[in-house]
Amino acid sequence: MSDLAIRAVNLGKRYRLGEYIDSYRTLRDFIIEGVGKPLRWMKGRSEKKPADESIWALREVSFELRRGQVLGVIGRNGAGKSTLLKLLSRVTEPTEGYAEVFGRVGSLLEVGTGFHPELTGRENIFLNGAILGMKRTEIIRRFDEIVDFAEVPKFIDTPVKRYSSGMYLRLAFAVAAHLEPEILVVDEVLAVGDAEFQKKCLGKMGEVAEQGRTILFVSHNMSAIARLTAETIVLEDGRIALSAPTNEAIDYYLSANLSQAGEIHWSDVDAQGASGPFHPRALRVIDHHGRISDKILSTKPFLVEFEYQLDQAITGLRTGLYISTTQGDPVFTTFDLDAPEDFESHAVRPEGIHVSRCTFPANMFNEGRFVLGVNASSFRIQSYYTNEQALSFMVDGTGAPGSHWPERRTGPLRPALDWEIVELKK
């Protein structure tokens, strides 16, 4: 008996674009196509056959997962993460290749599946449990635990249509989290609910991992990945780009996916999620020589410029920078209107192209790679653009305070601080 949980061999999934985008066809389309074909043929085949309109969402994906292993999966949107999970949980079939799965697969990507608004919380727990593959006896056994975890004991006999969206999500997650499959597949569900509940969910995940269950964990949250997994695969355009220890994989992912030129330009196409009159144009790191660079010296000040275009004036716009570690842990956040006098004088930002430039003082960062994110919003009114991982830069610690000791300092910061040494007694 091997200790394998999953063996995937050359898994591939192809979607026909028409099918995928239109999602369904009407009979009329079918008839029109049918009539159109011979017509086109009669025209003398002058038109070329349309290009093969299909994409491989996943291609030649092979990996092995041992029992009790927690494997992370990271990749950009559209890299094939969800497709991989759908294949492994048998929602859809692969186009080629195969996978051997040992044991029951339960997935947390279907939070709230089959919930019926008219049914009570209690009834939905049973229904949802059954859909997720739990036995009735199993649900009865864990019922109280589920209700407690969801924090809804008072409303358990109320139809869920009267639940707040938070309660609804908590209940849904609670059912899924109490599944006991041999293999647990977790997608980006941890992005639901408030911070408190998210913490609880992550805690639950850690607990499950400690019990020696096999977990496939997909997330954009690098710190969660780093915390819960030892090994991670990086998907790129449907293929496995790297399979390595998590730290290595995260480094690879961030450096491969974040521009290392010290600069990133957005076209309208790739500034996905930008809304309203706000369009991000560029983000750049400028070193103390005034050059665009992704390498800066810890001991020198440097600039970060965020360039954007407004199609019309925006009241109360503020742009900001997120600085985080490559593990995804935030270091700090700063906004261009943090100074009260700027806040007064820039109440309305007119139409046109603007740059918000921030000076980072010398002696601030420890050596290592950092991730820059940007945000543009009108506080509590509208968010125009957020990209938490836009650019990365490398800090060289040469000459930083204390560098006469060749040891690695912990933490993301390495400030030069004033020390006083006073002799109190002889």
């Binding site: 008996m1 979607y15 099918e19 995928y20 999602s23 369904y24 066809r25 009407t26 009979l27 009329r28 079918f30 759908k86 294949l87 492994l88 949980s89 048998r90 929602v91 859809t92 079939e93 692969p94 186009t95 080629e96 290749g97 195969y98 996978a99 051997e100 799965v101 040992f102 044991g103 029951r104 697969v105 997935s107 990507l109 279907e110 599946t113 089959g114 019926h116 008219e118 049914l119 009834e123 049973f126 229904l127 059954a130 859909i131 997720l132 593959g133 036995k135 009735r136 139809p159 006991e180 041999e182 019990q211």
Partner: protein, 280 residues
């Protein structure tokens, strides 16, 4: 946390399927609880937030029969083979409502539960099957009402009543076959949603519900008998009143067509099943 001591873990092979796939009965059996929960949900939800609740299961057939009796029986004077009109109509309405409700709901079922289909694996056949079985409750309630009306008219059940389960089964087979076809087609072609009401109306008139099959012109008889509902409704009337036994050839045609619908429906459904999650 329970951990099984045995190392016997079931291996599932995930790979592209090709060609004919039959029903995976062991797997269906493993998912029986889900099936019952779906049936139960259908029943539970149907009469929620309504004042009369399950009373509708009585009111609907009774009102329908009253309307038929007035318009088709009294005014249009369509003959009912010497069977009291309410009994004549009621015995046809019972299987007809089972078929209509089953087919309509099964046809819409997969599209309606797309958020399940795109997120969890389970044998998709349980989705269109559940509303058909759920419709049996209404059938049962209606049947009890019919028994009361029979008592009122002094009609005593004969041994023909023993064949009622057979015709009920035939109705379920027909509803399932057509339901599977429509459910599968609906995933790809949403036109089916518009076609179903029309189809059911047409089917209503080509079945001997408001008239007796005896008034159908003999030259179209062979075609007419291809409709499995012909034998089913004749069979129900016979089982209930003891008169008007459907002919052997009508029966054979009905059973053959019903089975053909079922087998082809399952075949089509299973063939399309692989792409449901991608298309729905």
């Amino acid at each position: 946390m329970q951990r099984s001591e045995t190392n016997e873990v079931k291996m599932t092979l995930i790979q592209p399927t090709r060609g004919w796939i039959g029903i995976n009965f062991p797997e269906l059996w493993r998912y029986r609880e889900l099936f019952f929960f779906l049936v139960w949900r259908d029943l539970k939800v149907r009469y929620k937030q309504s004042i009369l609740g399950a009373g509708w299961a009585i009111i609907q057939p009774v009102l329908t029969v009253a309307i038929f009796t007035v318009f088709f029986g009294k005014w249009a004077g369509i003959p009912t083979d010497d069977i009291p009109q309410p009994i004549f109509y009621f015995s046809a309405i019972l299987p007809w409502q089972l078929l209509q409700s089953g087919v309509s709901k099964a046809g819409a079922s997969l599209v309606a539960s797309r958020n399940m289909v795109t997120k969890v694996y389970f044998p998709r056949l349980v989705v269109p099957m559940a509303p058909i079985i759920a419709a049996l409750l209404d059938f049962g309630i209606g049947f009890l009402v019919l028994l009361v009306i029979m008592l009122f008219y002094g009609i005593v059940p004969t041994t023909a009543m023993l064949f009622l389960p057979f015709f009920l089964l035939l109705t379920i087979i027909t509803a399932s076959g057509v339901g599977f076809w429509l459910a599968g087609l609906n995933v790809n072609y949403r036109d089916i949603g518009h076609i179903i009401p029309f189809l059911m109306q047409l089917w209503f008139f080509i079945s001997p519900i408001v008239y007796s099959a005896s008034i159908v012109p003999e030259e179209i008889g062979p075609v007419y008998r291809l409709n499995p509902m012909t034998a089913i409704i004749q069979g129900f009337r016979w089982a209930i009143t003891g008169t008007g036994q459907p002919s052997g050839e009508t029966l054979i045609a009905s059973v053959a067509i019903a089975l053909l619908l079922l087998v082809s429906g399952i075949y089509y459904f299973r063939r399309m099943e692989r792409t449901f999650a991608d298309v729905v």
